[in-house]
């Protein structure tokens, strides 16, 4: 198997990821790519608390993730890769041709962002970065939970 879900979600590991996606995918590992979390043992403990013991959690910096992607893609277990923002996912896609599909799962309201979907708020700059990802051949859709429809980028940008 490989990484079944490349997801941008500013809550990182939470119920929708572990239960909503993790159960139907039968996920065996989660890769959380975030430079700040990678540097904080306390933050890592906090995120581990929400994950059942049979799912391994790997904390990686962006640099480590770019190096690790090839290995994770050949894992026999199913994996989920998470980033907290579009910049981080864009950096991964720029550093590796393994990122072919990106799921926008939760990008919430913040000053400067406008609502595109109930769970996707974007600045113009973030929207432009998503368009650039799509132009580069990455299939970008928004879908908070597996039972919802995957909304193509063109429908909300």
């Amino acid at each position: 198997m490989s990484i079944a879900l490349y997801r941008v979600d500013d809550r990182l590991i939470h119920g929708q990821v572990v239960v909503g996606w993790g159960q139907p995918l039968d996920a065996g590992f989660i890769v959380l790519v975030d430079d700040e979390v990678r540097a904080s043992a306390w933050e890592q403990d906090l995120y581990r608390m929400g994950v059942p013991p049979h799912i391994e959690v790997v904390f990686a910096s962006v640099t480590e993730a770019v190096r690790g992607l090839a290995g994770w893609e050949t894992e026999p277990r199913v994996g989920i890769l998470l980033t907290g923002d579009i910049d981080t996912m864009q950096a991964l896609a720029a550093g590796s041709d393994r990122v072919r599909k990106v799921n926008l799962g939760g990008i919430h309201h913040r000053t400067g962002r406008s609502e595109r979907l109930r769970y996707v708020y974007l600045t113009d700059d973030e929207a432009a970065k998503l368009r650039a990802l799509a132009r580069g051949g990455v299939d970008v859709t928004a879908q908070d939970v597996p039972t919802a429809r995957a909304v193509p980028l063109g429908e909300f940008l």
């Binding site: 809550r11 939470h14 119920g15 995120y47 581990r48 608390m49 929400g50 919430h108 109930r118 769970y119």
Partner: protein, 126 residues
């Protein structure tokens, strides 16, 4: 402690508000509990929402799940603050006990709530 201990319930969707309503319906106690939902929040916005609900006084943060956005936001807010304590797995039984036992420290109230909530989980003979 000079200010009465308050409870802030932090949950997914409308669970927290439903628990506040249920406690009020059973006890008639008002003002001891505040509901916070994570709807539409990233973790920073949720921490701000919890902080607003907590205010200046001591509080116990009752979180629905032992992991996820509600917990991470609550723990970030409470880290290093003796006036705040966090309990996970909130249920009605622990809240009913809490509203009548608020003359203790947040840490003591959290331990008591966890005990009361755990004792309420049973499998009765059918």
């Amino acid at each position: 402690m000079s200010e009465p201990l308050r409870g802030v319930i932090v949950s997914h969707a409308a669970l927290a508000q439903a628990l506040v309503s249920a406690v009020h319906a059973i006890t008639g106690v008002d003002g001891a509990l505040t509901a916070v939902s994570n709807d539409g929040c990233d973790s920073g916005a949720l921490s701000a929402r919890i902080g607003e609900a907590v205010g200046a006084g001591p509080a116990v943060l009752f979180v629905d799940l032992p992991g996820g956005s509600c917990l991470t936001s609550a723990v970030r807010l409470a880290a290093g603050k003796a006036a705040l304590a966090v309990v996970t797995g909130v249920n009605l039984a622990m809240l009913l006990d809490f509203v009548f036992h608020r003359g203790v420290t947040p840490a003591e109230a959290a331990r008591r709530a966890a005990d009361a909530g755990g004792k309420a989980i049973r499998v009765p003979a059918a």
